[in-house]
């Protein structure tokens, strides 16, 4: 009697392997790979590799992992599914290739998902980012009832219409890996496995203490008065720069060389600082619903101001 042969079950990819595979997959399809942006952001969309690069006519393809901060979502490390800081793998394809959905499906296969054994649906979900004046139409991609990717055809950013548009794919790496590894808690996700000893380091080993500490800060310790001071100060500096940028661009006497020196990226970073401070203030319960709308408007003004100057500078580059 022949013994039943069972193939040794291959262990699912680790957290970092999922990232490697996605990076490889998209690099092989012409994307440049960026490193995570080094200013606090709430989502990969806010990193300049997305926010600025999607503006203007120049084609661009980029992928990067982006640690994303959502102060209000912190749960002191006690909720198995919610995190203060999660990691997005963010992808921008500008313009989108006609087979962008098929490529996306292949990227899932690249991380070890056998699509013929799962239920996959593209369900309408139209992303909107009011603080950065951005919106698009698209889907949440559902696998076996769980959202694994946000897929958006970006239509507008910084209040400007995009032409060409781009496709934005945002993979939630923690969720995706928890799904692949079939664990109930994100903290049980295997981050890495030592190839020699097989010893594993989990997501909890790496991140649990900081999740706790961030929650304590955001919900209990953050000094509201100082946060407002920081906010107002960053905002004022940003407005000053935006005014200078606008004047410089409008100045017909100024040489293109002079105009290109305008520190747009730093202006944008000031806007990002404001956005993060707003999120902390919000988590701290310091912003009433009424104030909220006004605050979103203030940040949006900065983002729109930056986007306009960037578009003007792109024209400058194009014409020189």
């Amino acid at each position: 009697m022949a013994a039943t042969q069972t193939a040794p079950t291959k262990s699912p990819l680790t957290f970092q392997e999922v990232l490697f595979r996605l990076q490889n997959f998209w690099a092989e399809r012409g994307c440049i790979l960026q490193q995570p942006y080094d200013v606090e952001v709430g989502a990969g969309t806010m990193a300049p590799e997305t926010f600025l690069r999607v503006l203007g006519p120049k084609p661009y393809r980029v992928g990067y992992a982006q640690p994303s901060r959502r102060p209000a979502d912190g749960r002191y490390g006690e909720n198995p599914n919610r995190l203060f800081r999660h990691t997005q793998f963010q992808l921008i394809l500008k313009p989108p290739p006609v087979n962008v959905q098929e490529l996306y499906l292949k990227s899932l296969e690249a991380i070890g998902i056998d699509l013929s054994k799962h239920d996959l649906k593209f369900e309408e979900d139209n992303w909107e980012g009011p603080t950065v004046g951005a919106w698009g139409v698209g889907w949440q991609v559902m696998m076996d009832g769980m959202e694994i990717t946000q897929f958006t055809y970006f239509q507008q950013c910084g209040g400007l219409d995009l032409d060409p548009i781009c496709a934005e794919l945002t993979y939630g790496l923690e969720r995706l890996t928890a799904f692949l590894q079939d664990v109930d808690s994100v903290y049980d996700v295997v981050w890495s496995r030592d190839p020699e000893t097989g010893a594993v380091v989990t997501y909890g080993d790496v991140r649990l203490p900081e999740e706790l500490q961030y929650s304590v800060y955001n919900f209990e310790e953050a000094d509201v008065a100082r946060l407002w001071e920081h906010f107002n100060s960053y905002e004022a500096e940003a407005h000053g720069l935006i005014a200078r940028g606008n004047a410089l661009l409008a100045d017909e006497g100024a040489a293109p060389k002079e105009k290109k020196r305008f520190p747009l990226i730093s202006t944008y970073e000031l806007a990002l600082k404001c956005s993060n401070l707003f999120n902390v203030l919000d988590a701290r319960g310091a912003i009433s619903v009424t104030e909220r709308v006004g605050m979103i408007g203030r940040i949006r003004n900065l983002a729109v101001g930056v986007a306009k100057i960037y578009a003007g500078m792109q024209l400058l580059v194009a014409s020189s």
């Binding site: 989108p96 006609v98 013929s116 593209f122 139409v137 009832g145 055809y153 239509q155 109930d184």
Partner: protein, 695 residues
């Protein structure tokens, strides 16, 4: 004659938009073929759709339009022919018509003799016309939300167009839509079939070719498949059945190309959560069907509709994944439920000041205070009419109604506001009357929905909505055209519906009086707005014809239930011959009175005038019937009241037959005018019959 197939292939279309778009595409293609005389007698149009495609099949398209004869008229015969010889004018006309001069004819019309020509317009071929017209029709489809995708933004559509099939018989119609040239290949199921093109040899093979590529293209068939699969999966649980949910069936039908169903389970411990919460998580967040036992209570199972067919191992994996997601969501919900209980609703009232109702109007705390005032006035109004209600419970419910907006569970499941408040009220030991008034406060959510079942709930519903409408009008936020961001029309519809379907002795005017503040001009606008919604309710919800509605509203639009009773009575009699004659006569009376007013003719008393017998008869009948009619009207016996009016017909007919109303004699004329004016005012209190359209 040939069959025609048009299929537009797209990235996944939002499920909520598909049915309407499929129907519109069918309509547009049918209209196009009809307009262009290309649809054969008895031609049949069938539409299909899946998340990735919209399609139309037409059986019976003519190959070309029939040639048409057209009659052209040229210059006058005299100008065109001098002494029988054609002039340059005749030659120019013949050239324009493409005929020899000898083929010109003489046509005679009212204006005289002219040169005419009969020309034959060659019919265009179906393929040529379709190629020219289809892009406009397809790109003209309405979508609730559009996008650009091609550089230079040449067109907007719901999602990018990826392929187009346009087949007339077995040949491809050479048409390009959104930059995609039509062909004869479609695509199958993303996973089960893969990317290989599916060749369509003919129009007839469309549905079958797709079926072999794992796409059921017929919506009705998919819906049926899903229903059967739901039944089958549920049978594995003894005594269980799935909870009927038609909108959800529609959604999943439009989310799948090859549907199958799995039954999943969850831990029975989650059944301690209120059913409303469990069902919302399953239905709204996961698109799962709930499963119930014979007693109607939820069982710890759910049904998920998949867009794939897999082996047993695959189903096990998918079931496992779905169960895991649901468990995590239930766990969150239970956490919020327990967490929220730590602060009672009563202790949340003050924090309503941090929840904005509307920026200019303030917080939900001030809204609560305003609601309270209006509720108190409504209580006095109904008490005066002898209706009893649990006053204390209603006031408590009013105070707590909005507090659930501060709970985590409502922040997570906004669609459950009100309901969550009611559940918490009950869990926190408040009386059934309080809990129910809070629970049902957003009912009716639409004109199809039912009204709150308790008097307290109904009164609160009226107060909450009239305060919202009144305050929004006071800051110029009244709805205009298609803009109604605060859903004030829905709020007003609900007021009308509650008044129409509850036994509450309240009129629209009393509801507005209970709100009772603000500028007079705004209140008048509110009043007009509510009457407009009453008009809508009578026509669109109750189905009364527009002239009946206009007639009864002209005789009073304050008491909603009374208006309905009058409309019913009028609808019952309007078809009778006598009544049609009465309606015509009232219209005539109105016209005459208007004429008289324009000419400055005065009315006078009938006494002392030398009236004709018919005029006297009408005056007498009017006087005799008036008190009887008034009594019947008072008793809301509208059927008999209207029958009574119908008896006036012979008298009225004879009057108009024999009497010249606007008699040259001033005294007679004045008397006649007086008589008909009295008839009009006495008998128009149920409806203004002159509004009734008579053939």
């Amino acid at each position: 004659m040939a069959d025609f197939l048009l299929e537009i292939g797209l990235d996944e279309i939002p499920a909520r938009m598909i049915a309407q778009a499929e129907a519109e595409l069918g309509r547009r293609v049918t209209d196009l073929l009809t307009r262009e005389r290309l649809l054969a007698e008895g031609g049949k149009v069938t539409t299909y759709s899946t998340p990735r495609r919209l399609a139309v099949v037409v059986e019976g398209v003519l190959e070309a339009q029939q040639d048409q004869q057209e009659q052209l008229t040229g210059p006058s015969w005299k100008v065109a022919f001098k002494d029988g010889a054609p002039t340059p004018a005749a030659e120019a006309f013949a050239k324009k018509a493409g005929l020899a001069v000898t083929a010109l004819e003489k046509v005679v019309n009212a204006k005289g003799e002219y040169v005419g020509a009969t020309v034959t317009r060659k019919g265009r071929s179906a393929s040529e016309l379709l190629a020219a017209e289809l892009p406009k029709e397809v790109l003209g489809l309405y979508w609730a939300k559009n996008m650009y995708w091609r550089a230079g933004k040449p067109e907007r559509f719901v999602r990018p167009v990826r392929w187009v099939v346009a087949l007339l018989g077995s040949s491809v119609v050479s048409v390009e839509i959104a930059g995609i040239a039509a062909g004869n290949t479609t695509r199958g199921h993303r996973i089960l079939h893969g990317e290989a093109p599916v060749v369509l040899p003919s129009v007839k093979s469309y549905a079958e070719a797709l079926r072999s590529a794992f796409v059921v293209v017929d919506v009705a068939e998919r819906r049926q498949t899903i229903r059967k699969a739901l039944d089958k999966a549920t049978r594995t649980v003894a005594g269980a059945c799935w909870r009927e949910d038609e909108p959800l069936v529609e959604t999943v039908t439009h989310l799948t190309e090859w549907p199958t169903v799995i039954l999943g389970n969850f831990e029975p411990e989650y059944l301690v959560l209120p059913e409303e919460v469990l069902v919302t998580v399953m239905r709204d967040h996961q698109k799962y069907f709930a499963v119930e036992g014979a007693d109607g209570k939820l069982l710890p199972h759910f049904l998920a509709v998949l867009n794939i067919q897999v082996d047993e191992e695959g189903y096990a994996t998918i079931r496992h994944g779905n169960q895991k997601v649901l468990r995590a969501r239930f766990k969150d919900a239970r956490f919020f439920w327990d967490f929220d209980q730590k602060v009672f609703l009563a202790d949340r009232v003050a924090s309503l000041k941090n929840v904005t109702f509307q920026q200019q109007l303030g917080s939900y705390l001030s809204k609560t205070i305003d609601n309270d005032e209006v509720v108190k006035r409504l209580i006095s109004a109904v008490k005066a009419a002898g209706v009893t209600c649990d006053e204390a419970a209603l006031l408590k419910a009013t105070e707590l109604a909005k507090t659930d907006l501060t709970t985590e569970l409502v922040k997570e499941f906004t669609e459950l506001q009100g309901i969550i408040g009611g559940l918490y009220a009950k869990a926190q030991g408040l009386s059934e009357a309080v809990a129910e008034a809070i629970y049902w406060q957003y009912k009716p959510a639409s004109t199809e929905d039912s009204i709150p079942p308790t008097v307290e709930g109904q009164l609160f519903g009226l107060a909450d909505r009239i305060v919202t409408i009144g305050q929004m009008f006071s800051i110029a936020m009244a709805p205009t055209g298609s803009k109604d961001p605060f859903a004030l029309r829905r709020a007003a519809n609900s007021i009308v519906k509650i008044l129409a379907e509850s036994g509450l002795p309240l009129t629209l005017g009393q509801v507005i009086d209970a709100y009772g503040r603000g500028r007079e001009e705004d209140l008048q606008k509110v009043s007009a707005f509510l009457q407009e919604r009453l008009n809508f309710y009578l026509k669109d919800v109750r189905g009364f014809s527009y002239d009946v509605v206009n007639a009864v509203l002209a005789a009073g639009a304050d008491d909603v239930r009374d208006t309905i009773a009058r409309a019913e009575a009028l609808t019952a009699v309007r078809g009778s011959e006598d009544f049609a004659a009465i309606s015509a006569a009232f219209k005539r009376i109105k016209n005459i009175l208007k004429q008289a007013e324009e000419k400055g003719y005065a009315k006078s008393a009938a006494a002392g005038a030398e009236l004709a017998a018919e005029a006297k008869a009408l005056a007498d009948a009017s006087v005799t019937l008036a008190p009887k009619f008034a009594a019947l009207r008072e008793a809301h016996n509208y059927g008999e009241a209207l029958a009574l009016i119908a008896t006036l017909r012979p008298t009225v007919d004879a009057f108009f037959d024999k009497v010249m109303v606007l008699d040259p004699d001033e005294k007679l004329r004045g008397a006649h005018l007086g008589i008909i004016d009295e008839v009009l005012s006495r008998f128009s209190t149920i409806a203004d019959f002159s509004e009734i359209v008579t053939s």
